[in-house]
Symmetry: C2
Subunit: 207 residues, 2 copies
């Protein structure tokens, strides 16, 4: 890790707890192990560090954006097989995967916290936060459930309503346990109960 990368990394850690204004350049420099003045050889301002974080997150999102969505369109046979085998276990695994990724991925989880506390202060940060955690997540699940309904694996229901019921407990638990990572187990138990109920409600019964 270069010094520049370490500055970004430590800055994100500090911003995600103390906020942008609540974090001084000196504290970032201390965390890196250099003097604050040295930091200005890597970034021309404190704002530029934040901008770099936002840009990094934007790229990170593109890398992971398809991860929780549908199987790729260009692989239609594999996709069909996945849907045909869709069961309760897969649904539980999907929700756990999303929840734990947002909660534990070192970059995403810190960006979540920073986005939360900077949402009324920094439009750039909030734009990325909103897209990832408030819009795309619902959009992907909407497509997924629409397809599962179309294939008669799930019952006919408004796919967006289903997506909201699938995602909002994850969102709620992320909020509740973001500052309380020790009780992750508790969150996973609640999530498990919600998803099983979701499956009970929406899976197609009989034939």
């Amino acid at each position: 890790m270069t010094t520049k990368e370490r500055i970004v990394d430590e800055a994100l850690s500090l911003f995600s707890v103390n906020g942008y204004k609540g974090t001084s350049v000196k504290r970032i420099a201390d965390a890196v192990g250099i003097k604050d003045s040295s930091l200005y050889k890597h970034f021309k301002s404190k704002q530029e560090i934040l901008d770099t974080i936002v840009d990094t997150m934007r790229q990170h999102i593109e890398d992971i954006s398809c991860e929780f969505g549908l199987p790729a369109d260009d692989n239609i046979e594999e996709a069909a097989a996945v849907y045909a085998a869709f069961d309760e276990k897969m649904l539980v695994e999907l929700s756990n995967k999303i929840f734990l990724f947002y909660l534990n991925d070192s970059f995403v989880s810190r960006f979540w916290r920073m986005g939360t506390i900077e949402q009324f202060q920094n439009p750039e940060v909030y734009g990325v936060f909103k897209k990832l955690f408030l819009e795309d997540s619902i959009a992907y699940q909407t497509t997924l459930f629409a397809e599962l309904s179309r294939q008669d694996i799930f019952i006919q229901a408004d796919p967006q309503v289903m997506a909201v019921y699938f995602y909002t407990p994850i969102f709620f638990l992320l909020n509740k346990y973001a500052s309380d990572v020790e009780h992750e187990e508790e969150a996973l138990e609640i999530l498990d109960k919600q998803v099983r109920e979701f499956y009970r409600i929406y899976r197609r019964k009989g034939v």
Copy 2:
């Protein structure tokens, strides 16, 4: 409104957007229309202003805590009548009432925003925020749905799971539209669809 009350009011407005550290005593004093030094005749420190807000919110909660819960226990006949008449319209009204109260009550909505952005900084603030928006809400609805199941108005299901499905869309929409109050209509439409689906799922069919 006394000067002291106006200081608390303006401070809450500023804290709820700029955060505690992001708000200077001078800006609070400007908003009130006095000099910053005069403010220290009313509060011995900036921290004391925040403490006053938290205490005020704690009292405010007690005043409203029963509002979205069950009818009072000491009024058992009225309560029974309310349950017997429970229908889709009442459920929609309940969710709208909760959502709009949290979004538009001048004190609660500003405290919501402040709690959101101060959650990793100020344990006192977060304690009150967490209790009201993450714990009590679910707890009240759990009791409500438990009773509706017991009386065979709703189907038999885990009342906490029901409460989570009832409340988390409200919570999600509060997050999404807290910074975007103009699109309240949009939020209410989504909420309406969710609640009708909820009623479709959990109301008891036939007799």
